[in-house]
Amino acid sequence: MKTVNLTCIGCPLGCPIEVMMDDDNNILLVSGNSCPRGDKYARKEVTAPTRIVTSSVRVFGSEKGERMVPVKTASDVPKKSIMEVIRDLRGVSVPCPVHIGDVVVKNVAGTGVDMIATKEVE
């Protein structure tokens, strides 16, 4: 048995939620939430939390002398992969022009998700 404490992000109320789980990570009880959204959030957050990861990488050959282009994972990746995703961006440098949606790193950190550019850089 273990309990995980979370803060719900569904609304400004920010309910403190306690999730009770058995040793096989089966959810026994979700408590502390004051609406069904909190229950849903807590179940996802303890079983398969995901995040969009954003960062920036260097560019070269920019007409206007821009140095960086912002990037994001094209979809959610597991929360535990965040630092691996960031590590995979180290040393990456892309030629200009860069367009929104251009793939900067394919299958970043083996997540099956591409890292894509989020800004137009000429």
Partner: protein, 433 residues
Amino acid sequence: MERTVYDLIIVGGGPAGLAAAVGAYDAGLRNILILERDLRLGGILNQCIHNGFGLHTFQEELTGPEYAQRFIDQVKERGIAYKLDTMVLSIGKGEDGSKEVTAVNETDGLLLLKAKALILAMGCRERSRGALNIPGFRPAGIYSAGTAQRLVNIEGYLPGRRVVILGSGDIGLIMARRMTLEGARVMVCAELMPYSGGLKRNIVQCLDDFGIPLKLSHTVVRIEGKERVEGVVIAEVGPDRKPIPGTEEHYRCDTLLLSVGLLPENELTVGLGAEISRITNGPVVNESLETSVPGVFAAGNVLHVHDLVDYVSEEAKLAGERAADYVAACGDGFTAPEDGAKRVPVTFAGGIRYTVPSAIDPGKIGNWLKIRFRVGDVMQNRKVVLYLDGEPALTKKRRVMAPGEMEELVLTARHVQAHPDLKSIEIRVEEDV
């Protein structure tokens, strides 16, 4: 020297200026000019590379630059003129009733421009260390959170390795995560108030995800180091927000980020002579987002600081449409004739700090009008009631309200039609038992 004439000049090419331009164009205006001081359109969104923008406007979660690009594309598709790298020096009223804009850039030199209408969309800036009176030397390593954001995301520099953050505004929270991802160690985030001014989502995903402690009711009492920050001392504060002796904690660090509030940037507005609200630090506006100077409108963070860019875009579109109405009423002249506008003040009680707009002409709200406001403290189990001439016209239950979350009420034409001779509009926050 002859001034170049436009129907509408928009000061600022960030989210407010772009949406205002699109709103004005779609309402029929063609002779529009946007003046932007940066080298590209989009304003502060260019450095806000995190996601979470546009859920309301596009039903998608975009990053800041992606959200900006949607509006930049709309401006370009419409062929709306803009000048980059152009600093507006002053705005004023001409003898012929025109609004005069003086600006400068490297290509044109000094620009003397005239317009029938102006939209102020200059945004806001960050409150600085000087506004906080933290004692100590003035070492390197103290940045506003937004400056650090620009250094990391645009310039590609990491401003420090061991970081303490004062203030839990959203930019500070976002930078706690960003600096951590780039290899810095964020020791703590201290907040003077007993609650955070940032969004819950940011507290969870920027602090909790990385095990960064948030210390509420704490502030920085000392900054150590002469050439470079070497440490800061944080202490707990009492209900009077004064440090409690004996609660000091020392943190060894090389960087202090400040995320302690945003201030609308209204030097130009003051120079014009428009009335400024002492609470929002933005101009006082009516239902058309028109300032006390007829034909001059304001939208976005220059008017009042918003939490979501989606609301900025919506507000700015309205300013653009109303500016187009004003220009249409000008005919061949530079000013619209006085139309005997009614001015019903919006009053408030029960913990509301301000409303935008602060006065309404009931005949000019169109089908509906959003009244936006903020409360001064965290409150639970309340209802917001809108009274027209003392009669409740609209009630909205709120389980929780916080200073960091902007509230809104939608006043509809149906509400005001029931009061043909409307004299008072009041919004009250009441206990909901």
